[in-house]
């Protein structure tokens, strides 16, 4: 578990450094994820210890968003002023993005599979 944690934190650190050095438009951890992914491809498999630690972390991913979510309290005033316009725009846009993506991908996959 400790070695897995060292690898995850180490790659996050490398990600943060590279993103800042090259001023890339992505967060450090996302670059860390890509580096680990490339590492797995290069190795050809996922070491057991990394698999276990990653899975237990991912099981609790929702919990890790709670502290940032509580930050809503700081903006309650701002949200109250325009709540209706915000609710409609946010719901409408999130649902549109969700459905359009799902439909496009499903249609493309069907064609792709038919061609193969």
């Amino acid at each position: 578990m400790l070695s897995a944690f060292a690898i995850l934190l180490g790659l996050q650190l490398v990600g943060e450094i590279v993103v800042r050095a090259l001023s890339l438009p992505i967060p450090g951890p996302v670059l860390g994820m890509l580096l680990l992914f490339i590492g797995f491809i290069w190795r050809g498999n996922i070491p057991d210890y990394l698999q276990q630690t990653s899975q237990s972390l991912l099981q609790h991913l929702s919990l890790f968003f709670v502290p940032a979510g509580v930050g809503v309290m700081v903006h309650i005033g701002l949200l109250q002023q325009e709540w209706l316009a915000i609710v409609i725009t946010l719901l409408g846009s999130t649902w549109l993005a969700l459905l359009v993506t799902a439909w496009v991908l499903q249609a493309l996959l069907k064609r792709w599979e038919a061609k193969e």
Binding site: F5, L8, Q12, G15, P25, I26, P27, P29, V30, G32, M33, L34, L36, F37, G39, F40, I41, I46, T53, L58, H60, L61, S62, L63, F64, F65, V66, P67, A68, G69, V70, G71, M73, V74, H75, L78, L79, E82, L84, A85, I86, I88, T89, L90, L91, G92, S93, T94, W95, A97, L98, L99, T101, A102, W103, V104, L105, Q106, L108, L109
Partner: protein, 238 residues
């Protein structure tokens, strides 16, 4: 023996109290959610947020004090994002085969997420500042805040809108996709991760590992795509 007031003063100064409460409240919320047959509106993130905001308001505790303790939980977002490479690699075969459809769906979905905010804001009369803060709402918080700053939105408002978008996705996306008859877990995951980033991804992981893997992928890709698209849209449309 100390009276309760003295104990409170001690606890309020230490990170331990709000750290433990964050974990405990979330655990309770999850128990409730599972007991009630995972009813979407009882989403544990949403419940925990409501409970903690109420607790903080009742005890007159500022958010900064709370975050001093809760930051240890918050910090785990970083290494867990790196860990998303594990489910992603498990579906590497499918990913390699379908790279082109995934890329096209990414570009279409990403543009829809951004342009629909602009179009709906014209209809609802949303203020310019809120519009600029909301454009990057579908992507993970750190990138979204960076973009908002660049185009003249309020980064801290963006953070809130991003979280709310994630909750909307986590609460409604699985049922909505079922309703319109989408069955492929990869398609569901990709759409959820693209539209509602990490919070949606967290939900997808709990439903199915393949859904989680494609959600994580879409979240990462949409972060990059939106970072390029939003400044472009702002210079053309506004």
């Amino acid at each position: 023996m100390n009276d309760l007031g003295t104990i409170w003063v001690y606890l309020a100064q230490k990170p331990l109290l709000w750290l433990s409460l964050t974990v405990a409240v979330f655990w309770l919320a999850q128990q409730l959610y599972n007991r009630c047959g995972q009813w979407p509106l009882l989403n544990p993130v949403l419940l925990s947020m409501l409970a903690l905001v109420s607790l903080l308001t009742l005890t007159h505790t500022p958010y900064d004090t709370y975050f001093d303790g809760a930051q240890f939980v918050h910090f785990l977002l970083g290494p867990t994002t790196v860990a998303l490479a594990v489910p992603l690699y498990q579906y590497y075969g499918r990913l390699k085969r379908y790279w082109l459809p995934l890329l096209i769906a990414l570009l279409v979905g990403s543009s829809t997420a951004v342009l629909s905010v602009w179009a709906l804001s014209r209809l609802t009369g949303l203020s310019e500042v809120s519009l600029l803060s909301m454009l990057p709402k579908s992507i993970t918080t750190p990138i979204a805040m960076g973009i908002a700053q660049e185009i003249g939105g309020l980064a801290s408002l963006t953070a809130v809108l991003v979280i709310l978008t994630g909750i909307v996705g986590a609460v409604t996306a699985p049922s909505l996709l079922k309703l319109v008859g989408i069955q492929d877990n990869a398609v569901k995951g990709f759409a959820i991760g693209l539209s509602s980033h990490g919070i949606g991804t967290a939900r997808a992981i709990q439903i199915h590992t393949e859904m989680g893997a494609f959600a994580g992928l879409a979240m990462g890709l949409n972060g990059i795509s939106t970072a390029i698209l939003v400044p472009l849209c702002v210079s053309i449309l506004l």
